[in-house]
Amino acid sequence: MTATPWQAPKLDDTLKVAIHDKMVLGRATEEMLIRMMRTGHGYFWIGGPGEEGFNVPLGLLTKKGHGPDFDYLHLHYRSSATILAMGGAPIDILRQMRSTATDPFSKGRNFVNHFAIKPWNVVPVTPTIETQYATVIGTALVQQRHGGDGLSYVTGGDAGSAEGDFWTCMNWSTRPGRELPVLILVTQNEFGISTPANQTQNNLRLNERANGFGIKNACVDGNDPIASWHALVEAMAYVRHERKPYCLQANVSRLYGHSSSSGANRYDEPDCVSLYEQRLIRENLMTQAEIKAVWDKHNAQLADDLQKVIAEPMPDKSQVLQHVWHEGPAGN
């Protein structure tokens, strides 16, 4: 991998169609995960159906690689579409859902969508919903010293932004003369598990909290992948070149509730995938038949993937003792 300066791809018609492909892949994968949960092929589902309109552009705009020249990703558990847009294999997500020994992210130890991919600077995802806002400071600090245009981004929800680490991130990334290249992302779906955000937050424009720290910020319709693309291009360009933080809120839908815990049933909220498909048809970029072919392609592949995953081994009991300690030289 090289450390050449990052240039955002040109958002042409080909890319617009490619975005659709990745959004469908993300949605189809999440719906497969829910089916796995319902059919006994996984214990628990949590994920991000409804966030593809924002998360796919995010993945495509990520400077992917290992080390401080590249972007560090401090994700939360609704980020599958970002990983898939970066080139992640859906079958690996199915493996984590089924807790197989072949799960490359945790060997069956963690919930689905809890990624850990060192070659892409994806640091381990945790269910804590806030700690990623604290750990992002460290990778950004290393990048600030290192130079280049790599940045660290962190994603979380509106509920997680109520935690102290959200404020920690803004404070540490704006210390005078020590500003950090952090992109602070909040996907606002207006719920914290079952609690409506308007019961817990006075101002649902959470990005405006950044004003108190002098952090440039914006809010975008996360159901619109084109608007999200442009908002991310602007935010990332600022962070990459100014080496200062930026806070971007994306208003998104939560189409299947919080997780298995709320039944994972479909909710009547705006669907970024179908909205985008209507737009692609309207702009003569795709036909209904072509759109259907995309869905069929991914669903067929996921069905094949599931059969493979079902046949794969589960972890042996003895493996529980592996990796308690890191053996070998230190360093990431």
């Binding site: 130890r109 060192k118 604290a134 400071i137 920690t168 360093g331 990431n332």
Partner: protein, 351 residues
Amino acid sequence: MANLAQAIRLALHYGEENLGVTDIFGEDVGAPLGGVFTATQGLKTAWNTPLDERGIIGTALGIAYAGGKPVAEIQFCDYIYNVIDLLKLCGNVTWSSAGEYSVPMVLMTPVGSGIHGSMYHSHSFESIATHIQGWKIVMPSNPKDAYGLMLSAIAEPNPVLFLAPKALMRQKGAELIPGEPADERTLHAMIDAPLGDRSDWTPNWPPVEDYRVAIGEAKIARAGTQLTVVTYGRMLPLSVNAAETLAKEGLEIEVIDLRTIYPFDLPCVKASVEKTGRLLVINEDTEVTNFGEHIIRKVLDEAFYSLEVKPELLAGLDVPGVGLAWGYEQNSVPQADDVLAAMRRLATERA
């Protein structure tokens, strides 16, 4: 001889120069203070943070993720409780990522009583810390071990919690650190910042050398045959002093300085108990769910039939804090007389 704070400072300097330490940070850790106990004075990678423990631990983990080697400090362990989930995260990253990531970081924090620290500068933390899996935990009782344990902690690919017994920070050692000047006044002139304006001051580091105390290795601080005392940190010198007093009464007490609390040196403890038939564990932490209970349980598992009398734990009183008044602290945390009495009683108890 260096005192314990100076020894930590020398070790961190060695770590900066030779072991890849990139950041030493925490509240008041950088200039001008260099730590409330001066353990980080004059270090080239030391910097001050916001008064934000969560930011300190999160930043350390992020630096480790990005290939750095951080040494973070929580100013007193009494203020560490709001970062428990981050400590849990540091400890589970390697396991939960199936070995994808390691966490080479050191977290140091002063612990224990003995400085009239009252409610929030006197806690112990080792018992809670040992419930946070994935960490190695060390606590020195003298400057040379502090130096050697710190170098090992820095070189360790896993997170290490370095507990510094605050009451011993100004205690001088009996042995020189390799490379340390023989004259302590010379050392003082070389590495201690002057009082007052120190903006132009830089340390003149002595050529300290690589010296490691392996994590997981205890030391027999005093050999004996009639009772095994397992202790660490501030309780170690009290225990050795008591053993020397009792030697005049004809009682030969073996005192083990655990040095590493987790994973602790069970073979060393077991071998000693098999020799003496008696076990007393001493520490400052509160007695309920005390780490000493774990030591006793492991000895019961592995050396039950070697025991001649029931093993005992001498620990802190189960009260919410160490009170400021002299009598409160004396009655909350084991003192020299308590140590002496417990050792005499157990060594002479009829089998």
